[in-house]
Amino acid sequence: MARLIRRLGRRVGRMVEELGRLAEFTGHIVTVTMRPPLRIREFVDEVFKTGVLSILIIGISGMAVGMVLGLQGYTTLVRFGAENSLGAVVGLSLIREMGPVLTALLTTGRAGSAITAEIGAMKATEQLDGLRMMAVDPVDYVIRPKAWAMVVSMPLLSALFIVTGIAGGYVVGVDLMGIDSGTFLSSLENAVDFRDDVAGSIIKSVIFGTLVGLISTYRGYTAAPTSAGVSAATTSTVVIGSVSVLIFDYFITALWGV
């Protein structure tokens, strides 16, 4: 029993230590962000890699999820004679919950893992040390643009997911199940409140973007400089990133009602 408690204590100690390092790392990113140069070119490059290259996967996934929501929603609502509310069900589910969360999970897997692997490989090949020796802070040149690109891309990708999702729900509800187009759209419009739903959704995805951006860059930056180390860091980004998104989602919803 004592051994179990000791082991638990050690593990909690390590976790607190790790959180401390992550906080220090976050502080470092904030500090370099406030210093010139702005590194616009690097930032735009990263937005392209994180955001633009994720458009296809987010668009296709959004459409598929919207179609499933439309189908499931219709078969459930029709039992209560409430199929005219399909627009509201599809829209609210996507805007409030599924858009930000699924986008964050997909982006963690697609772009977050790539960020970790890239930074880890740069560390393993001494490129980060090379930058330091040229008197350039790697957190400034490599980490900052990647982390900010994730924060900016996430709400945009989430918006894309929601739009394609609603389109998918519309196709199933209106074109396949025969709900009136005007009914679908007016139910959507009446149910969605900009401040409570849309703004909340944007805030949620900005928080998720910050979370995934920090975890993926931190994991790459602290990866052991070996191929096994980079591989473990990449796996850890996907696992920790995804679980954190789901846990944070619960608390944001519970505390702020978003």
């Binding site: 740069m122 090949t125 001494e126 490129q127 040390d129 090379g130 930058l131 330091r132 020796m133 040229m134 008197a135 350039v136 802070d137």
Partner: protein
């Protein structure tokens, strides 16, 4: 043991009783040595003796756990990271595998330090890059990516990049590793020419005894438990048999080599010999 110590006034870089360990494995134990201004110093030693660690300590990439590392007259062991960046502007480092930024072309890699730290125009930077590339014997490689370069070319581009900011001290990590004899001689000639023309202090870590003994003005030899330093000719005639064996070209038979390796095994890692034949 510190043979032929360098006077303080002549030393550009000095290590004073430096201790360094990776986890539980000690690498440097109370190492003191000096690197004279304007000379080519070569650090020699067996694998794991801490040669590359010395370069990283001088560059501030690693912190000494005890002792002092003096660059110029400044002790860098107590400096903050932001202060270290000021010191690094006076240093250049050629990494063993180049450490070129693989997302940038050769031209962009070389232009990078100038773009970061100077106010030169694009044309001026490009001219400086071409000048440095020419100095290392390369032309028409501007648009090549690091992955398209051969091993020897990577070394030369890395050397050119290390020279971009006219450093006072050039740190060179294993410049001859993985190169054919011709490329080895080329890099050796380049390093000597750069030292003679630009007059910078060079600290080279290498395993390649013939090249290093030809080019070195000063040798620091890391042996288990002690550091021996001096000019190559004196060390070659050293009374210490381990020093002579390390520095002399090997013509021994395999059996003799097997017998000699015991001399280089670190004290605490030396296998305990049991009694009996």
């Amino acid at each position: 043991m510190n043979s032929q110590p360098i006077p303080d006034s002549d030393a550009h870089v000095r290590l004073d009783r430096v201790e360094m360990a990776y986890g539980n494995r000690p690498v440097l134990r109370g190492v003191s040595c000096a690197f004279p201004t304007g000379a080519i110093s070569v650090v020699l030693g067996g694998s794991g003796s801490g040669k590359s660690t010395i370069l990283k300590l001088i560059g501030g990439l690693l912190r000494a756990q005890a002792g002092r590392v003096l660059v110029g007259q400044r002790d860098i062991t107590s400096l903050k990271e932001s202060q270290l960046y000021q010191v690094r502007r006076r240093l250049g480092m050629m990494f063993q595998n180049g450490a070129l930024l693989d997302s940038l072309s050769v031209l962009e890699n070389l232009a990078f330090p100038l773009r970061e730290h100077s106010h030169l125009s694009r044309e001026e930077i490009q001219a400086r890059v071409h000048e440095r590339l020419f100095a290392v014997g390369l032309q028409d490689v501007d648009d090549l990516m690091p992955r398209e370069l051969s091993g020897g070319m990577v070394k030369r581009v890395a050397l050119a990049r290390a020279l971009m900011q006219d450093p006072e001290i050039l740190l060179v990590d294993e410049p001859f590793s993985g190169l054919d004899p011709l490329s080895t001689k080329l890099i050796e000639a380049l390093l000597v020419r750069i030292n003679r023309t630009l007059g910078m202090t060079m600290i080279v870590v290498s395993h390649h005894i013939p090249s290093t003994m030809r080019m070195a003005d000063h040798v620091v030899l890391l042996l288990p438990g002690c550091v021996v330093q001096g000019v190559p000719s004196t060390l070659r005639d050293s009374e210490d048999v381990r020093v002579r064996r390390f520095l002399t070209e090997d013509t021994d038979t395999s059996d003799q080599i097997l017998a000699h390796t015991q001399d280089f095994e670190a004290g605490e890692h030396k296998p305990q010999r049991r009694g009996g034949a």
